[in-house]
Symmetry: C2
Subunit: 341 residues, 2 copies
DNA sequence: GTTAGCACTCTCCTCCGTTGAGTGCTAACA
DNA sequence: TGTTAGCACTCAACGGAGGAGAGTGCTAAC
């Protein structure tokens, strides 16, 4: 027994209905729908078949049917077609994305909010991933006697800063010179060789040993923290609008996932090659999200750097709309960040 | 009719009980408590008086009594005594606050988590406020042909960065020179005079007009954004553990407050001169928090810079514990950030 | 193959009645 | 005069009974 065209049609109708109502769907409801010219009895037979095939489930005998994970998977694979946003809506999004500030962080933060506002789901945006991180510039700036700020600019323009202590009485010009020397010797070098270069530098300049060692340490820390990308969440309370989260325990479970940046990064994956990745319910690694769907897309910042943006919603989410908005926002962010770069 | 000692005692007993159980407190419960040597009937009389005085309220006739806002205010003003954390706990907190990274952001983010873990309430930490912002250092770093990264280091060591476009073919050395010149002329100047200085610079160096104008713009933007301090929230899901938030609507309301950084900054205030500020229920400006209490304290980073940390919980929160933890964490953060500076 | 009819199932809602915690009042007591 | 025991009263919460309604599966007719 396979899935003929009529079963497809009925399954789609059931999913569509369930997506909007979140209530088990009965045969009469489907029968009444435009485009389906069959009596409830016929629909019932088909539904019974669909249940046997694993696409539908019944909460209890006298309730309607609810789509299973398998049904959503089919729906997404076969029936989903990305739509297009209305001009009006695109304009509205563009308007909300407008920002005077050119800081990458501002753009991303804003994007998370727009994304959750537009979809009414929870959105997550992960800051750009640095493809192959290289140091571009090192600068040590005196802050007060004994302390300085070490600034490291990396290839994609990401700035890392840290406070370090410096020997008393070191002049600003001297620091300037050291910065220049460090930049000259480190710039463009692959990360792996930084440690070796530093060893050389320290050998050459023994009298600045302490300062250099501390600088080295900060650089190492920041290289180690390369996967410590920022994560911005929008609309974390949005999911509470859906009946599946009227249970406080479930809500809490969900929210606790949003609190851990590590978990979020795992959930979001790396965007992959696909334009849009959809993980439905149990396909998510994180058990707390086993009744959620996670949609992710990626955006680009310049040539090397990519980031991930995504939407988390109930499995019965409006996939079509979500995919459309996500794709649009991915392009919008890429464009905003490329204008800058 | 005033508040004699016995009324005080009974009121305190009621609040103590209500804080732990969240259930209306009856006369028998109080009577049974150690330290209260009166029969339920006597307690009832006193409770009746306390209700008339506005310290207690009755959800319905045959329920026990619940403390009113006025009772909490009295409790906090008169009965609250800050305790001290056990050595074990202090050690545990210190351990959790340990971080290899010296970035200010890391310390603060961590603090938010520790604070919410230790209290089981929601915590908010606002990044340091810059007392009188001055530019300390300006640096323009080439990123790719046509674009550069502008980095501004301010007095308290806060780094602002932005991507700007530069004329093609400008050499790194040339940028270095410009950076140096800008730093020399701008460093230490009060904000108000920056615009004038820039006008002078642009007059002197007409051929770099476009680059300078863009730099000026970024500086202005960042000065304007000086109050756009970062806010970190910890344990946003914690409040859902309390029965007063088993209602999803209330939970959503609360969470939506946490989503707006602007609102949070307003809620947190500026820490004030007081060591610890307590705003109970309706004392909060934000109506969504009218059944929450917000406790804030401040921490210092160096000499000029102060930030705010706080706890948001139900009005029946354990004030004593909250105050103790908050005070301790304020000192801990100050110390960590001063070690750095 | 499709559909009407019908008995059956199961949840949900509402309507009591009961239970128990707690109060307020009164009268007795120290 | 303050304190306490006793008692009637109130009201939310719990639980069972019964009806309504939505939906199903099966059978027989078209």
């Amino acid at each position: 027994m396979g899935l003929d065209e009529r079963k497809f049609l009925i399954l789609q109708a059931i999913i569509d209905d369930y997506i909007t109502t979140a209530m088990p769907v009965g045969s009469r409801t489907i029968s009444r729908k435009a485009g389906v010219g069959f009596s409830p009895a016929t629909i019932r037979n088909e539904m019974s078949d669909l249940e046997e095939l694993g696409y539908l489930a019944q909460p209890h005998t006298s309730a309607g049917r609810v789509p299973s994970y398998k049904a959503y998977r089919l729906y997404v694979d076969k029936l989903l077609k990305a739509g297009q946003l209305s001009g009006e809506e695109r304009q509205k999004i563009a308007q909300h994305m407008q920002t005077r500030s050119r800081q990458v962080e501002t753009v991303i933060r804003r994007a998370a909010r727009v994304l959750s506002d537009a979809t009414k789901y929870t959105s997550v945006v992960v800051a750009p991933h640095i493809g192959s991180l290289r140091i571009r510039h090192v600068q040590i700036v005196p802050v007060s006697s004994g302390t300085a700020m070490l600034i490291i600019v990396t290839s994609a323009g990401i700035v890392k800063d840290a406070v370090i202590s410096i020997p008393e009485g070191l002049s600003a010009d001297h620091l300037y010179g050291i910065s220049r020397m460090l930049t000259e010797r480190l710039a463009g070098q692959p990360i792996e060789s930084v440690r070796q270069i530093f060893a050389d530098i320290i050998r050459d300049m023994g009298n600045e040993r302490k300062l250099l060692a501390e600088t080295m340490q900060v650089i190492e820390e920041n290289i180690a923290a390369v996967d410590d990308r920022d994560v911005y969440v929008g609309g974390s309370a949005n999911l509470l609008n859906y009946p599946e989260y009227s249970d406080v325990d479930k809500a809490r479970n969900f929210l606790s996932v949003l609190e851990s940046r590590d978990t979020l990064r795992r959930v979001m994956g790396d965007g992959g090659d696909m334009e849009i990745t959809i993980r439905i319910g149990p396909e998510n690694e994180v058990p707390e999200l086993s009744d959620c769907s996670v949609l992710t897309a990626s955006y680009r910042m310049g040539d090397q750097s990519t980031g991930t943006l995504g939407i988390i919603g109930p499995t019965r989410m409006n996939y079509s709309r979500a995919v459309t908005v996500l794709a649009f926002m991915g392009r919008a962010i890429s464009q905003l960040l490329s204008d800058n770069k």
